[in-house]
Symmetry: C2
Subunit: 473 residues, 2 copies
Amino acid sequence: MTELEKVLHRVVDRVNVNLRELSMDVGPFVRTLVVPENFVRFYAFYGFTPHHPLSFQFRRSSLAGSYFLGKCVVDHSIVYKSDVRGDELKTKGETLKCGSLEIPLHEDEMIRIKDSFLVKTLVHSNSHDPESPEEFLIQNTVALHYANIHGSPIEGSFLGPFGTVDLTTVHDCVIGSFAYVQRGELAHARIDPGRIWVQAGDVFEFNYQYPMEVLEKYIHLEAGKKPRGQLVDFVEGRKKDYEEIFGLVGKELLDSLPKGTKVSRYAVVKGKNRIEENVLVAQRAYIEDSRLGRGSNAQENCYIVQSELEGNDVTAHGGKVICATLGNKVFVGFNSFLHGTPSCRLTVGEGSIVMPHTVIDLEQPLEVPPKTLVWGYLRSPEDLASQTIPLEKLAHHKGELQLGSMYFRGSGHEFVHGFQHRIEHILEANGAFFDGNAHPGHAQKTRNISYNTIQPYPDGPLKGLYPTIEIRP
Amino acid sequence: MTELEKVLHRVVDRVNVNLRELSMDVGPFVRTLVVPENFVRFYAFYGFTPHHPLSFQFRRSSLAGSYFLGKCVVDHSIVYKSDVRGDELKTKGETLKCGSLEIPLHEDEMIRIKDSFLVKTLVHSNSHDPESPEEFLIQNTVALHYANIHGSPIEGSFLGPFGTVDLTTVHDCVIGSFAYVQRGELAHARIDPGRIWVQAGDVFEFNYQYPMEVLEKYIHLEAGKKPRGQLVDFVEGRKKDYEEIFGLVGKELLDSLPKGTKVSRYAVVKGKNRIEENVLVAQRAYIEDSRLGRGSNAQENCYIVQSELEGNDVTAHGGKVICATLGNKVFVGFNSFLHGTPSCRLTVGEGSIVMPHTVIDLEQPLEVPPKTLVWGYLRSPEDLASQTIPLEKLAHHKGELQLGSMYFRGSGHEFVHGFQHRIEHILEANGAFFDGNAHPGHAQKTRNISYNTIQPYPDGPLKGLYPTIEIRP
């Protein structure tokens, strides 16, 4: 057994110990997932700028193709083609508010990945757990393709492909493929594939369950096999475009960009595009024949193809927008798949919110009115009735509400205004409101960034593992 | 003053303190040498394999374009486009013999570069100083373009462009441009530009002094200006070819190579070449339309153009071989410039030794007989009489010998056999004698190598300096 195999073996055992109550064996899901040769085929890299805290420690880990920013420790883990973005970590001296309590941070927050196996996973934001404000911990965890660990310390868990845990501390859970959970804390639970679940204590709860046949079509996972379905086909079909940009040691191309705008040199930008001021195109984003209006941001693993984005539009991590026209300040949530065609375009009116993990796959044109909440699975205008609601209407709603497979209870006001508040925060954090001086965000702070590439042992007993690396200012 | 400027300022002051007795101010030689923008323009990189010890510590330094291998610490230094190759460092437990003394090494040897400024300098081999066997120290030193610090701990010194210190511990010295010194120890001395000086205590001494007008033509340095002359023009004229290879994140291309052969992906290989078994082409070597016969090695900064190398030929660091035919086991010493033309080819017979820093610049064809020692400046067959001697003849010589500007005294036998012994060692160390199993050398041990690239702060007060980086197995 090579040292790399030992690491993998150990991760499987550790996750299984945590999941023994749920009788889950993660082994068959991970053992045949990555071709061994690929662990030495792709370099990993980390970025640093004068604007970000800097601290990396990589020990006994395989990091092929992964990207790191900020402060991050990786121990005894396999982090494969993942993005670990510590640009929203809290800093020493900040205060974390939790109800009436105020917890001052005694040190800078760090992301710590330990005894885990992450494949094409995104780790971003910061620990929203008031019980552990200085450490964003990912431990004894397996997360598969395009999983999204967003502000969510996670321990002893399995996260299926395209699954998202958002602002939620997760202990000993199995989160199914394409499931989305945002509820503060979650322990010893099994979340079905395709369940979209947002809960804020007793204040409100949003629930939607994808039908099995839809999941079967778009994203499906079986033990011992790679994930499959149209979502997988879509991203795999565009994989080749990344080869060239990852094969060049490039510099950021700032000269040709509008003021305050950042297009990562690790993004694919194809065809004819118009990219306006204060736009952020993050690494591994994919832009083709599109317009990104002022203040829009295109986050990691998002795809924007043949689309018009008016401005201040957020395409969150993993969001896909194809043949669509988005009005001003449209929010497209994590891993959504908005798939129009040249003859069946999708139009989304200004101020609308597309819930995370929404699938719109059109065979005829569709227009979503302005200021509308959209969720679930839509194929034609007939689906609007059961899978959208005007934000204004929901904001005035109190109590229970059933629309198609969606169940809502509680305060519509809190839900809508909480969401809108978060969107404002995302725009601000990404630099949409930069005025040339004040309100810089990620777009401006990463305009000029250095990337260091790192590779594993090419051969010998440590083949595929990286040397111990420590970086500080 | 930026932090980088402070580092430079400090280096200048520290070197000047050491050189106060020689009234040398190195400031004017270094201050305007490198365009500030270049300190952020080129990445540095380090290699590692399962066959080499691994330890790097970079602190408060600028490393633009430099390469590191083995064990190396860099503190408060500027190491610009230099090669620091720790693949011949001694290891813990080895014994260093010095006369009748035997000194066991209590730890692995490291290269330590401290408070120094190295430009396009090569650091290789190991500390030949029995007084400091575990540390190959380069401190308070300025070394300029294509300087060569070979197995030579050096402190408080200035090394001019194309200057070499070889197997010599150097304290508080000024070594002129294109000078070559090999004499064990040297302190508080000023070596004139173009002096070639090999001394082994009372056993033998070799001395040659280039005429001023030749230095003026080939390599000349004035305070406040960049080095100039035909040697500089030659390398500057080929600079563009390196841009492409340094712009790609490549893998070693092993498939198309003969067994036991290594061509660094950071070497330029142009035109039609034939590269045979057990050949080493090191990083920054330049090969064009040439044949490298079995067991030949092309070391850093060497150029082999339109030439035929029969086999087991050594082109040492910085050696240039243009339009030449070299017989078997020809040695071309450091920084030699063998410049034939298509109509005036140079032929060097088998077993000949071209002394380091030899210039052969032809306007008519020239043939150097087999088993001949060559030195100095040759332009035509008439120069053979005063600048070559059959090795056999020299080996039988005892006492003084004057030939042209060359003065020799002592034991010709020791000089010739010592040199031949060293060449055998170089061939062995580079892997020329690899039989598919035993006697692997650099060519075989670096066949499969990983490179990590590192960049400096792109902006801000630390612009041009690298973060603190520590790497271990």
